[in-house]
């Protein structure tokens, strides 16, 4: 019974939230890694791209609910997601046309691209605040829980509660679908293959007749779709605020680097590694330990390695350690 309680406590506070957060990071990191692999620079504007996509989705969601259209037990935002993605695609293609294309033409060094993306980050920062403001926005509707804490306790008679939110399940399912689609596209379609070829060796790809403009366009479209999906899932599960999306940049980059920059599989693994390290390092293990250990060994302290304030420090530390020891990441990516 005590072991059961320990497992439930662990599920409730570590495994489920960690998995949902990991899936959100993985989707974000996939976008970063695609830009790095194919366009060859670190896109600092990615967090704000997510925020823009989410803001657009929220506006459409409000419009839909005002018209009386909802999605039954599921959040209306899922219906609005395609519109958000379309808006983000327009934004990214527009920026590419206005800004990045020029630097590609003059064959600018990657570090210049990074600086340019930082400039775009600031512009998007302002744009998002202009469109939707700086406040906290909660746009989830429909059913909130699949399993409620109280219901679980009453049904099982365990001391520990277990809650499973609808948004957590949606996050995992949507992320799985998005990743499956992406891999099918990269491995099975002609455009996907040409993108991989372009990523592996640009000159060879050009010689074999691949149209670089087409590859760049498709890449931005996929990045827009991934960023918007990641942003909307994060916003549904937590809440939307322009500034927190900007802050997500650090764990997202950490995920992409840990997994191996430019490697999509790595980005997914990296997302979960970062999410679970953040959650487990800052979790107070006292309760779980009390259930598992015999009474004489029950801990006095909280058994917490680090205060929860240091969450971002964990991803930063992992990032630094990986760069020092294994710059190519877990799955062999490009070294930074």
């Amino acid at each position: 019974m005590d072991i059961l309680n320990a497992i439930v406590a662990l599920l409730n506070f570590v495994v489920i939230p960690g998995a949902a957060y990991g899936a959100q990071l993985a989707l974000g990191a996939l976008g970063v890694t695609l830009v790095y692999g194919i366009l060859r620079f670190s896109n600092f504007a990615h967090g704000d791209t997510m925020a823009f996509g989410t803001a657009a989705t929220i506006l459409v969601t409000w419009g839909l609910t005002a018209l009386g259209i909802t999605f039954g037990p599921l959040p209306t935002a899922l219906l609005a997601l395609p519109f958000g993605i379309a808006a983000t695609i327009a934004l990214l293609l527009g920026t590419d046309r206005l800004v990045y294309r020029f630097y590609r033409r003059v064959k600018a060094a990657p570090v210049i691209f990074v600086m340019v993306s930082m400039g775009i980050m600031f512009v998007m920062n302002g744009l998002n605040r202009f469109i939707i403001g700086v406040g906290d926005i909660n746009f989830v509707d429909g059913e909130r829980f699949l399993i409620t804490a109280r219901g679980f306790r009453e049904a099982t008679g365990l001391a520990e509660p277990l809650a499973l939110r609808m948004t957590q399940v949606i996050t995992l399912v949507t992320a799985a679908i998005a990743v499956a689609l992406l891999f099918w596209f990269l491995n099975r379609t002609r455009t996907g293959k040409s993108m991989r070829a372009f990523s592996d060796n640009e000159d060879l790809a050009l010689l074999s007749g691949i149209n670089p403009d087409h590859v760049v366009r498709v890449t931005w479209m996929i990045v827009a779709a991934l960023a918007t999906t990641a942003g909307v899932l994060y916003g549904l599960d937590k809440s939307f605020k322009a500034f927190t999306y900007f802050q997500l940049l650090l764990p997202i980059f950490a995920s992409a680097v840990v997994g191996g920059l430019g490697n999509p599989l790595g980005a997914i693994a990296g997302g979960f590694v970062i999410a679970f390290s953040e959650v487990t390092v800052t979790y107070a293990w006292k309760k779980v330990a009390t259930y598992v250990l015999p009474e004489s060994l029950a801990p006095e302290g909280l058994m917490q390695l680090m205060g929860t304030d240091y969450k971002f420090a964990v991803s930063f530390a992992i990032l630094v350690v990986v760069l020092l020891i294994k710059p190519t990441g877990i799955f062999k990516g490009k070294s930074v």
């Binding site: 406590a9 409730n12 506070f13 570590v14 939230p17 957060y21 906290d136 829980f145 409620t148 804490a149 109280r150 679980f152 306790r153 509660p161 277990l162 809650a163 939110r165 994060y234 916003g235 599960d237 937590k238 809440s239 939307f240 605020k241 500034f243 927190t244 953040e278 959650v279 800052t282 979790y283 107070a284 293990w285 006292k286 309760k287 779980v288 909280l302 917490q304 205060g307 929860t308 304030d309 969450k311």
Partner: protein, 395 residues
């Protein structure tokens, strides 16, 4: 002859001066900009109302009148607050200041400006326990209670309701930490147990990790010393969602209508404390405020009125507007024997004091100073019943 003329002119001049009194410059130093800017208009209106009441009575120091000078203390920027206060003290020569507003900025201006220049400060709203032990040379008082007092009140409420172990989380700033530490000390002193005392940052999207740590430490009640418009509500949401806590204790920063609109019946049985007094003084102040055209319920407005009134009555008792002289009379006016004085009765008080009598200033917030400088503090205990905050009692 010439000397005689001069002398008589001088005597004449003195005579008229004595009759018309002087113009006393007074300062108001609060955060007109910054995180508490929404409270500034209420405090200012209340303090100016007290100044006007005394000026209009014609009884303050032989008919002296008051002009006010305002400084923007910004609440968070101690350097800006010091510069602003330096200006009204050295160039406008104010004799007393209603302010500062927030605890950190108040400490800085007291030590850097008020003490070197010998000016009295009475703060309507700084509540950090740290201000109780500062060396202040009788120049600093506050009409707000110290959070050390609120810590004791919270501990008593928990004890009466039979709770023995609690978890504590506080917003990571001077207010939150001061209150959480004061509460922990008070609760442990009466035999309670605090399983964890952890900070949380405001303005984050996700409090799962914070709630996880609090849940692991355990406790019957979660004491939440935060802001209801900020991380406080996020912590409640996270706790309810994960089933970590169902009962909460809300100190003053959390007692607000968002609790009703966001959570309603989900937090029935949770309870809160915040500084508030009831009775004759409060009612009279509300009427005056309404007549003057501002909201008397605005946080710390009543304290602002009392801060201003106390300085004026102390001047009357000392028969001088010199801060070095009247500072000694402030305690006597607030805690003294004699007729009780409520808002709107400053003229009566001035008359008694001019006649050499004594008064006991109650004001809008039932002022009684403890620890030599701060309001003892009256608190309201509220409980969530059927999704509404209802008053249980005053203590």
């Amino acid at each position: 002859m010439k000397k005689l003329l001069l002398a008589s002119t001088a005597v004449f001049a003195l005579g008229t001066a004595a009759q018309a009194g002087e113009v006393i410059p007074m300062g108001i130093s609060i955060g007109y900009t910054g995180p508490l800017e929404s409270m500034a208009p209420g405090i200012t209106a209340a303090a100016e109302m007290a100044f006007k009441e005394a000026s209009d009575s014609g009884l303050l120091l032989d008919g002296s009148t008051i002009t006010t000078y305002k400084a923007d203390s910004t609440c968070i920027d101690a350097a800006a607050a010091t510069a602003a206060m330096e200006r009204i003290v050295t160039s406008d020569k104010v004799r007393g200041i209603v302010g500062g507003m927030c605890s950190g900025e108040t400490t800085a201006t007291l030590q850097n400006v008020a003490m070197p220049n010998g000016v009295v400060m009475i703060s309507p709203s700084a509540t950090s326990p740290a201000l109780s032990s500062l060396e202040a040379n009788d120049l600093f008082y506050r009409t707000s209670p110290s959070d050390a007092r609120q810590g004791v009140v919270m501990a008593e409420v928990l004890q009466e309701r039979g709770f023995k172990t609690v978890a504590v989380t506080y917003t990571n700033n001077d207010y939150g930490k001061g209150l959480a530490d004061a509460f922990q000390a008070a609760f442990e002193a009466i035999g309670g147990k605090v399983t964890i005392n952890a900070p949380h940052e405001d303005g984050k999207a996700d409090y799962t990790a914070e709630v996880g740590a609090l849940a692991s430490a355990g406790g019957e009640v979660l004491v939440l010393a935060g802001y209801v418009d900020q991380g406080g509500s996020g912590i409640i949401r996270g706790s309810l969602d994960s089933g970590a806590f169902e009962t909460f204790l809300f100190p003053d920063g959390m007692v607000g209508t968002p609790l009703e609109t966001n959570f309603g019946t989900q937090i029935d049985g949770s309870f809160g404390t915040n500084p508030a007094s009831e009775g004759e003084g409060r009612d009279k102040f509300m009427e005056l405020a309404k007549a003057a055209g501002f909201d008397g319920n605005s946080a710390f407005a009543a304290e602002g009125y009392d801060a201003a009134a106390l300085m004026l009555l102390a001047m009357a008792k000392a028969k001088s507007s010199d801060p070095a002289v009247y500072k000694k009379e402030i305690l006597g006016v607030a805690n003294g024997e004699g007729e009780k004085i409520y808002p709107g009765e400053l003229a009566k008080a001035l008359e008694i004091l001019n006649g050499g009598g004594t008064v006991n200033y109650e004001g809008a917030t039932s002022v009684t100073f403890v620890n030599g400088r701060e309001s003892a503090g009256n608190y309201r205990e509220t409980e969530m019943k059927d999704g509404k905050l209802t008053v249980v009692k005053y203590r």
